[in-house]
């Protein structure tokens, strides 16, 4: 019996109990015999009833029934005349026997009920105490390993059973035995049934084969955290209701403990991530500031040479102009490298807002200014383009890079075209030029970092422009591709998903 914890009964085996009962009755007989002359038979009956009561309290129901019968017999044989025989001289003693037996049995009955109640109360007390201790230990557990160990210890000590805890993998597709040396075979199918349905599953068939037969889902407030599988070590019979409800309580305690650990992990993770993010962005902006400050000074100081009075000779001014241009190129390069570092670091925070594409196109062309001076830009946007959700600063960067590339490689005075049209669920934006196009064998690598279409060309550049475009477009959920036009020239096309543009309340006319 799993809960047979009563101290009294544990100490006496069945045989000893019979012997003790017989001894008690014999002792009573021996004690009462010398008193026969002094006491009424009625009082001797009382002594026997007292014995039955004591036996009932000390040795339990069966012993007390035995004691009742022996007492009646002893009383008959040793005390009721004629003594030392079962025969009874006076017929009225039969009533005494009957009353004595009934009284003894009734006493036995009520005493044993009381006893049982008391035992149950003690048992419940112990269970509650054990669960309380368990809850305390689980509350202090810092790792899943500890939870599992505490569980296994509890199941072993309280139920003399073995258990394993099964936890789902990260994708919740499979369940694995969590960190334990215990070697309890489990029925995987039943584990899954319990995990999927969130219900207690038992199988008495597998129990005989040494498999765990009870499967409790670990149901936490948010979701099911795993399964507890239990097998009783040596118990052929059914597990008692008490053990099942205890295991049920155990399962919910474990579930809550596991969920708590899960959220501790989540909180720690996000804190670490936040700190890393903050560190990264502060390093990048410090770097950006430190690199840009001297460049700003160089550009400005070179410019200020033009303001020197009296004016410097033309060759000196040419040098100043060259200084200005080189410093600006360096600044653009630094800008590209920093952008790439930021985009590569992953998880760029997009400031996405709904807006017409037209606006950012106009802004890009204006921003490039002189860089496009030698190329007329033809903008052809479909009339009915929807609002798109994007980060204007970043998409402006994409358009600037593409237009700048086109202007750099296409011969002067050839037009650059910018097209945009909606096809299904995306808007396609294309920048086309009439330059030499991309070399066919390198087209796939173009969007990798530090790859340039014509590596030996005299054109300045780092091969970061298209890589940045790709990172930005992909962060927006779009794609980007480069191609050569059949009529000659290069074409870069990127897409932006359409989504569900917000409506605009009509203005009362």
């Amino acid at each position: 019996m799993p809960f047979d914890t009563s101290a009294n009964e544990k100490h006496y085996s069945g045989f000893l109990r019979i012997a003790l009962t017989v001894a008690a009755c014999a002792a009573t007989t021996a004690l009462a015999t010398p008193l026969l002359g002094y006491l009424d038979l009625a009082n001797i009956v009382m002594l026997f009833l007292l014995t039955v009561l004591i036996v009932a309290v000390k040795l339990g129901r069966n012993a007390a029934i035995l004691a009742s019968v022996i007492s009646v017999l002893c009383f008959d044989i040793f005390f009721v005349p004629p003594r030392f025989s079962l025969a009874v001289s006076n017929i009225q003693y039969l009533i005494t026997f009957a009353v004595m037996l009934v009284t003894a049995l009734t006493t036995t009955h009520f005493t044993s009920i009381l006893r049982q109640r008391a035992q149950e109360a003690v048992q419940r007390e112990q269970q509650t105490q054990a669960l309380y201790q368990l809850a305390k230990q689980l509350a202090g557990a810092l790792t899943v390993e500890q939870v599992v160990e505490i569980t296994n210890r509890f199941v072993h000590s309280q139920l003399s059973a073995s258990s394993v805890v099964l936890l789902p993998s990260a994708d919740r597709k499979s369940l694995d035995v969590a960190c334990t040396q215990a070697n309890l075979p489990i029925e995987t199918h039943l584990v899954h049934v319990s995990f999927e349905s969130g219900k207690f599953v038992r199988s008495d068939e597998v129990r005989g084969m040494g498999y765990a037969s009870l499967y409790f889902p670990l149901k936490a407030p948010m979701r099911i955290r795993g399964v507890l599988a239990v097998a009783f070590d040596e118990q052929p019979g059914e597990p008692s209701d008490e053990s099942l409800s205890l295991l049920d309580a155990l399962a919910s305690l474990i579930a809550v403990a596991l969920e708590r650990l899960h959220y501790v992990d989540v909180a720690q993770d996000s804190e670490v991530k936040m700190l890393t993010e903050r560190l990264r962005s502060s390093i990048l902006s410090a770097l950006s500031h430190d690199l840009r400050t001297p460049l700003t000074a160089m550009v400005g100081l070179a410019d200020s040479l033009f303001l020197v009075k009296p004016a410097l000779p033309p060759t000196a001014l040419e040098t100043a102009q060259a200084l200005h241009e080189q410093a600006e190129r360096l600044a653009a390069l630094v800008g590209n490298l920093l952008d790439m570092a930021r985009l590569n670091a992953g998880e760029v925070t997009l400031r996405r807002e709904w807006q017409p594409l037209e606006e950012v196109v106009g802004a890009s062309i204006k921003l490039l200014g002189n860089a496009l001076a030698e190329h007329p830009v033809k903008v052809m946007l479909d009339n009915e383009l929807p609002l798109l959700e994007f980060d204007a600063v970043l998409i402006e960067r994409v358009l600037c890079n593409l237009l700048e590339n086109a202007a750099k490689y296409a011969p002067a005075q050839t037009p650059i075209e910018l097209h945009a049209k909606q096809t299904d669920s995306v808007v396609e934006v294309a920048v086309l030029d009439q330059g030499p196009g991309f070399p066919a064998h390198r087209r796939d690598e173009l969007f990798n970092m530090f790859v340039r279409g014509q590596s030996e060309s005299g054109k300045p550049g780092t091969g970061l422009g298209l890589a940045i475009c790709k990172a930005i477009v992909e962060a927006h959920g779009g794609t980007i591709a480069a191609d050569n036009r059949p009529e000659g020239g290069a074409q870069v096309c990127f897409t932006l998903p359409v989504g569900n543009p917000p409506s605009i309340e009509e203005e009362p006319a």
Binding site: S288, E353, P502
Partner: protein
Amino acid sequence: MTTPAKVLIVEDEKQIRRFVRVAVEEEGCQVAEAETMAQGLLEAGARQPDLLILDLGLPDGNGIDLIRDLRGWSDTPILILSARSQEHDKIDALDAGADDYLTKPFSVGELRARVRALLRRRSRSPEGASPVIEFGEVIADFSRRRVTRNGAEVHLTPIEYRLLTVLVGHPGKVLTQRNLLREIWGPSYVESSHYLRVYVGHLRQKLEIDPTQPKHFLTETGVGYRFLP
């Protein structure tokens, strides 16, 4: 102008201060310099400059606080110098009351153009803006609520008209999205930037020669809009 305009430069980097000073002096202004925010605030109080050129990354504090302090008692135009990575700082500075910004690195030519524009606006302000403003092919007569383009009347909806008056009322000044949305649609619309973008688009359609490459209603990407006459 009889007296030269006074310009205060607050910038911690000595070499940048040097060329900014040269450029501003070239515009015929009298220049004072400050290295820190505290010093800048003192100088601004003492000298009452006509223009403040302010670097946002000062060693002893955020330039935005200086703007807020200054705006408490002065409407001197403020030109911000900022690094590109500080997009939101720029917006905060403009929201706090700065008038314009330059992104580092910038050329002396750009700087002088901005300084001129800001000083011009100041010298003109006392007489009040004229009710009639001309730009491109457009004449806007605000006293008669009439807008014409090449002589033909242009019909504007009430919101378009209101947007036009706000933009035109601050020529050269960068108005942040948040500012414009609050001013025209009300405080509950400050996050609905698509309204603003769509209506600026309408204005461009009706008033710009090439709406895709506007010359007057300019986008400051990620920040807001600027009207240039």
